[in-house]
C-alpha cells in the first residue's frame, strides 16, 4: 500500500511546486489523475479502460475457440449467450499440422537466442562505453549511434549475397545473426545512457571495496540497470517474435517462423479464419507472458536512496 502512496505524494509535491511558480491554481488533467491514482473512483475507471483495451484480444481468443461455421454466421460475442459454441477443435487442427508446430519451434529458436545475445552483448558494451576508459571510446560510440539510422531494408540485399556463399543461408542462425546485428546499436545506445546515469560514486565505492570490472558489472550495474535491461529485453523479444520481413528474406522453408507460416496459411486457404485466429492467438500469448513476467521492473524505482 505504501508503494502506492509514495508516487502520489511526490506528484503532489511536483504539482504544488509548479503551481507555486506560475501562481496559478490550475493543474493539468494528467497531474490530477496521477495524484489520484490511489483513490477508488480512478481505480474503477482504470479497470474499465483496461477491459475496453482487452476487447480485441478477447475477440481473437473467442474466435479461435469457435467453429468455422459459427464464425461465419455470427460474431464472437455470441459465446456469452451460447457458451456451448466453445470448442478446442481449431487448436487440435493447428497442432496436428506439423508445419505449424515446427514454425512455432522456429520462432522460439530465433527469438530467444536473438534476445539473449542482444541483452548480454549490449549490456557489456554499454558498461564499457559508459564507465571504462579506452582510446577512441567516444568515436566508437558515435559510430554505434550512427548505425541507429541505417534502415533494415538497405542491408537485405548485401547481407543476402554475403550469406549466399555460406551454409548459413536460409538457416536459423542466419536470421538470428541478422536480428542481433540490427538490434545491438539500439540496445547499446539505450543501456549506455542508462548506465551513465548511475552515480559514479557507487562504482568507485565498489572499486574501493575490491571489485574488478566484471564483478562491479555483475553486482552493481546489472541490479541497478534492471529496469532498462528488462525493457530492452521485452522490446527486442516482441520485435523479433513478430518479425516477418527478415524471416521472409532469410529463412528457408524449414526454418520459417510462425509469422511466415501464418502468412502462407492465409494465402493457401483464403478464409480459414478459424485456424488463423488460433495461430495468431498462440503467437500473441507468448510475448504477453514475457511482458507480464518482467513488467514489475518497469515500475520499480530502484535508484531511490542511492546517493543523497
Amino acid at each position: 500500500m505504501s508503494a502506492q502512496v509514495e508516487p502520489a505524494e511526490s506528484a503532489e509535491h511536483t504539482r504544488s511546486a509548479a503551481a507555486g511558480n506560475e501562481g496559478a491554481p490550475h493543474r493539468s488533467l494528467a497531474a490530477r489523475l496521477v495524484a489520484r491514482v490511489g483513490s477508488g473512483a480512478v481505480q474503477v475507471l482504470l479497470i474499465l479502460i483496461a477491459l475496453f483495451w482487452m476487447v480485441p484480444t478477447l475477440g481473437l481468443l473467442f474466435s479461435s475457440l469457435r467453429s468455422p461455421q459459427d464464425n461465419a454466421s455470427s460474431g464472437w460475442w455470441t459465446v456469452f449467450t451460447e457458451p456451448a459454441q466453445l470448442t478446442l477443435r481449431n487448436y487440435a487442427v493447428l497442432l496436428d499440422n506439423p508445419d505449424f508446430v515446427s514454425s512455432f519451434g522456429n520462432t522460439v529458436l530465433i527469438t530467444v537466442p536473438s534476445t539473449a545475445i542482444i541483452v548480454v552483448v549490449a549490456s557489456l558494451a554499454a558498461y564499457a562505453f559508459a564507465w571504462l576508459e579506452f582510446p577512441g571510446r567516444d568515436w566508437l560510440f558515435l559510430g554505434v549511434v550512427g548505425l541507429l539510422v541505417v534502415p533494415i531494408q538497405v542491408a537485405l540485399v548485401p547481407i543476402s549475397s554475403l550469406y549466399g556463399g555460406t551454409p548459413l543461408y536460409g538457416s536459423i542462425p542466419a536470421v538470428v545473426l541478422f536480428h542481433v546485428g540490427f538490434g545491438l546499436p539500439f540496445g547499446i545506445f539505450l543501456l549506455r545512457n542508462f548506465f551513465a546515469a548511475i552515480p559514479r560514486d557507487l562504482l568507485e565505492a565498489a572499486r574501493m571495496d575490491g571489485g574488478r570490472e566484471l564483478t562491479i558489472f555483475r553486482r552493481v550495474i546489472l541490479p541497478l540497470g534492471g529496469p532498462a535491461i528488462a525493457s530492452l529485453g521485452i522490446f527486442q523479444f516482441l520485435w523479433v517474435w513478430n518479425d516477418l520481413l527478415v524471416a521472409l528474406v532469410f529463412a528457408a522453408e524449414a526454418s520459417q517462423p510462425m509469422t511466415v507460416a501464418l502468412q502462407s496459411e492465409m494465402r493457401q486457404f483464403g478464409a480459414n479464419i478459424d485456424v488463423i485466429s488460433a495461430g495468431a492467438f498462440l503467437s500473441m500469448v507468448v510475448p504477453l507472458l514475457v511482458f507480464f513476467a518482467f513488467q514489475r521492473y518497469f515500475v520499480q524505482g530502484v535508484m531511490a536512496g542511492a546517493v543523497k
Partner: protein, 410 residues
Amino acid sequence: MARVHLSGIGKTYPDGTSAVTGLDLDIAEGEFLVLVGPSGCGKTTALRMVAGLEEISSGTLTIGDRVVNRTPARDRDVAMVFQSYALYPHLSVRDNIAFGLQLRKLPKREIKQRVEDAAETLGLTEHLDRRPRNLSGGQRQRVAMGRAIVRQPQAFLMDEPLSNLDAKLRVQMRAEISRLQRDLAVTTVYVTHDQVEAMTLGDRVAVLKKGVLQQVAPPQELYDHPANLFVAGFIGSPAMNLLQGRLEADGSAARVELGGQSLAVPAALMAERPRLREYLGREVALGIRPEDMEDAELGTGDQDTLLTSTTDLVEALGPELLVHFQLPAPPVVTEDTKELARDAGAEGIDAAAPYSDVIARFSPRSRTGTGQPLRVRVDTGHLYFFDPATGDGIWGEPASATQQKEGTHA
C-alpha cells in the same frame, strides 16, 4: 594500519587544470590527518589519488612500505567514505556493509560476525535488514562508516563525510568519528572545508590553498603560529582581523601604528620573535584575533593597549557578543587575503579603503550598542605579524625557515 607517505604528489587533469602541486605529507600510523582548505583547492583530488581513483601525475605515494602509484584502488587496501555515502541502493544495510568482505571471499561466518560487530559499534543493529532509502541521513552516514571499518583497512579516507548532515547531527557524528578513529587507531585522512571540523578532529591539520600545501601542524599550533596570512585567516572563527600597520621602535619594545591610533608591542613579544626587529620602521600586516579583544569598560589596562571606534553592530550569541566596528587602517591586500575573501563569498577587497572592518568577541556583560562610542582592550601579547609582501608570518626563526612544513613534526 599503516603509514601513508606522499612525496611531491601532483595532479594535472587532462584539460590542463593543475589541481595539486608538490604535496608532501607524512601521515604516521594511526594518525588522524585533516586536509582542509576552501572549496576547489584540490582536497578531493589529493584524497582520490591516495585512494587510487585518480591517476597520480607526479610524485610518489607510499602506503605501509609499498609504493602504490600504479596499484589499482582495489589492491591498495584503503577504505573510503564518500561525501554522497555511495550506498548500494539495491542491497540491505547488512549487504552494504558486507560487500567488501564478500568480494574478498571471507568465510561466511566471519563476515556475519564482523558485520554484526560493526553494526553494534555504530548502533545499526536493528536496521541491518533495511534498504538505504529507508534510512535517515545520519543512519546512512553510519552505514557508510560501517562499510569502511568492517574491512579493517590500512587507512580510512573520508571526503567531507558530514557535509550532508544538518548542524546538530554533524556535531554528534563528528564526536563519534573522533571516538571511533581513536578506538580503532586506523590511519585516517579526512577532507573538509570546515575549519571547526579540522580543528576538533585532527591530530594534525594540513591547510591547502590552490593545490599547494601551506602548513601542516597540530590544531593549536596552526592557531598559535600560522605560517602565513592564508592559514591565519582560514583557521579561527570569526576570522582573524588583518590590518595594515607600521611597526615603530619604542625602546626594547615597539608599537604598531594603525592610522591615528597605536598599540604597544610588549618587549617580551619582541624578544620572542627576534625577526620583528627587521621590520622596525616598515609596514607590516597586523593580525588580531577577535577573542584577543575585550570591552575596555569591563576591566583595567594600559592606555597603549586600547583602540577606540564606534560600534557598528552587535550580534548577541548568548555566551559571547560579536561586535563589529571599523579601525582607521587599510585592509591587508595580498594574494592570500584575496583568496580568503573569495572563499568567504566577498567580491574582493578595496585596497584603497582607509578603514578596515573588524570583529571582536566580547563577554556578554559588555553594554555596548550600535552607534555608541567603543573602547577596545587588545591582548597585545597575542598580536600576529606578517610580511605584507610575501604574507609569511614573522616568527622566531631567521628568515626563510618560517614555513612550518612537513618534517618539523613526527
